[in-house]
């Protein structure tokens, strides 16, 4: 981000950005003040719409449009920031909340103002216990400084933000499951429609946005939609944090404009794969992704919402897991299926039974006890789940197994005798 500097990971440039004083010294909360004192709520939404910001939680839904969908016949409104961050390979929201928390909270506040919510929650995964404690003290600091509470900046607008901890359930990242969980129930997705914009938290209109999405907002309000659109691509504007993990020398978060190529991320930023191995496959949306065959075409594909599908993948939350030539694909899909089997909430039949059945098959394939037809059966079971699940978890769970059977079939025929992974062989 040479020209603009960091938009999201600004703490990497500015020491102690997690102190309110430092954050304010660097222009913090001017965007909120501008919004609350000089803009109508709808204008804020318009600017965000114009910026082309798309949800960073995975689905890439236009953020301004989501805010505009809020039902104004029903009140009160709520905002819930999705800090559940549980997709394997995703660790960007955590860095934002640890390093640049005030920018995120300012984003929550601006969003709340735009939809006229007076209460917002940050739903964090339970493991982020320490982050929640720190956010609580940041929120207390904001209240003390008059940045939260009654009559902000002398206006009529008042706002409170609270944290809420989940307790170890990936499904609670799904927005309606998150709302159920926040209501004190089992975190199981709701049947939709109605969508949260009409029937959300406590049955009231609610915006749910990802942490990274909201962290963009203060900068957009401050510098405008055109500035924002100067980064990224036309349909996928702005910067994005890519969480790079797996078989790379320098894993970590990289803030890059959308549209940067896989090659740049893996080799320039990540320093390539270890020990001279080659990249075999890329999973760009965490465990929920299909396996992209890492040929030259794929490596040169720009990472944005439109281009990644062209090579048979999804951008999702941009958690790029690099799979090198040492990794056994049957081992890998057993891992991912095991994850979904463990995390399936149990509410709908195809996901509950399908992930269990798939897990049964991948384990047999890995153990060498499978029959030759079992690979086809695994493929079929996935196909049988497709398009029938209540929420995307079930749909995601089949991506890795099905794509790898399609694209790495030869590895399955050899599976039993193959090493598990290079790393594990030790």
């Amino acid at each position: 981000m040479a020209d603009n500097g960091y938009v999201l990971l600004r703490h990497r440039e500015i020491p102690d950005l997690d102190s309110l004083e430092v954050y304010r010294k660097h222009g913090g909360f001017q965007a909120l003040e501008k919004a609350v004192t000089r803009m109508k709520p709808a204008e804020v939404t318009e600017v965000v719409k114009a910026s082309g910001l798309r949800g960073r939680g995975g689905a890439g839904f236009p953020t301004g449009l989501k805010w505009a969908f809020m039902d104004n016949q029903i009140w009160p409104h709520y905002v819930v920031a999705n800090a559940d961050e549980s997709e394997p390979g995703t660790f960007k929201d955590r860095e934002i909340m640890e390093g640049n928390p005030y920018q995120f909270l300012e984003g929550v506040a601006i969003c709340a103002y735009a939809v006229q919510a007076h209460l917002a929650y940050v739903y964090l995964r339970g493991e982020f216990w320490q982050i929640a404690e720190r956010l609580d003290s940041h929120l207390a600091a904001m209240e003390a400084a008059g940045l939260l509470g009654e009559r902000l900046f002398g206006s009529d607008y008042s706002l409170r933000i609270r944290t809420h901890l989940g307790a170890g359930a990936y499904i609670c990242g799904e927005e309606t499951a998150m709302l159920e969980s926040l209501e004190g129930k089992l975190g199981q997705p709701r049947l939709r429609p109605p969508f949260p914009a009409t029937f959300g938290l406590y049955g009231k209109p609610t915006v749910v946005n990802n942490v990274e999405t909201l962290t963009n907002v203060p900068r957009i309000i401050e510098f405008g939609a055109d500035w924002y659109r100067s980064m990224g691509t036309e349909k996928s504007p702005g910067p994005k944090i890519f969480s790079l993990s797996g078989c790379v020398n320098k894993p970590g978060n990289y803030e890059l404009p959308l549209g940067t190529t896989f090659r740049h991320l893996i080799f320039e930023c990540g320093g390539g794969v270890p020990e001279g191995n080659s990249v075999k496959a890329i999973m760009s949306a965490g465990a929920s992704s299909s396996l992209i065959v890492a040929n030259d075409q794929a490596l040169d594909t720009p990472m944005d919402y439109e281009s990644v599908p062209n090579v048979g993948g999804q951008l999702g939350s941009a958690s790029v897991i690099v799979i090198d030539s040492s990794v056994s694909i049957p081992w890998l899909i057993n891992k991912t299926v095991h994850f979904f089997r463990h995390e399936s909430c149990g509410k709908c039949t195809p996901c509950r039974e399908g992930t269990f059945w798939m897990g049964h098959l991948t384990q047999r394939i890995l153990d060498g006890t499978a029959k030759p037809e079992d690979v086809d059966l695994l493929y079929d079971v996935g196909g049988q789940m497709r398009g029938k699940c209540l929420c995307a978890l079930g749909e995601f769970s089949i991506e890795a197994p099905r794509s790898s059977i399609e694209r790495f079939r030869s590895e399955f025929d050899l599976a039993p005798s193959q090493p598990k992974t290079a790393v594990d062989q030790g």
């Binding site: 995703t90 493991e127 320490q130 307790a167 004190g184 993990s245 078989c247 994850f339």
Partner: protein, 184 residues
Amino acid sequence: MLERKYLAEKYPQEIQNILDKYPAEQRRSAVMPLLYLAQRDKMYINREDLQEIGDILGITLTEVASLVGFYTLYYDQPKGVYHIQVCTDLPCALRGADRFLAELCDRLGIQPGETTPDGLVTIEPVMCLAACDKAPMFQLQSGAGLTYYENQTVENALSLIEQLRKDASGRRVSARERGRDGNG
């Protein structure tokens, strides 16, 4: 019916603070933080605490207890004073997490999921903890909360456990306080 008031008497302020987070007519939302409060008291949640939480919120014991089964961070059975949970999900596994867990357990003479014979540490694998770039890593849960330990080696982990053991035997204190020391 006489209501039990163990939590209410021990943590009046904490309970009030939790309830204040939610709209008055939506008390049920406070159930998850109250479960954490009860869990920190003894590293698991017993039936009496579950019932008391239900009474505080006006929901049934069954409604409260069903959450404990659904959410993996809650325990209704006593385990070790400390829980070490090693992420062995795909990204971490690609960086040797499975082997790390196996070796650590070997060195302690237990199987993953088991507790050391002195009842001090339970070690188990968990799903992704959003620290994939710093594997091998684990989280340490105790009465005082939850801490991440990243970029670990088996030796690091063993010396941490040694430290926990010393702290625990050095003074006879409640599990809750021991937990706090462990994170100090």
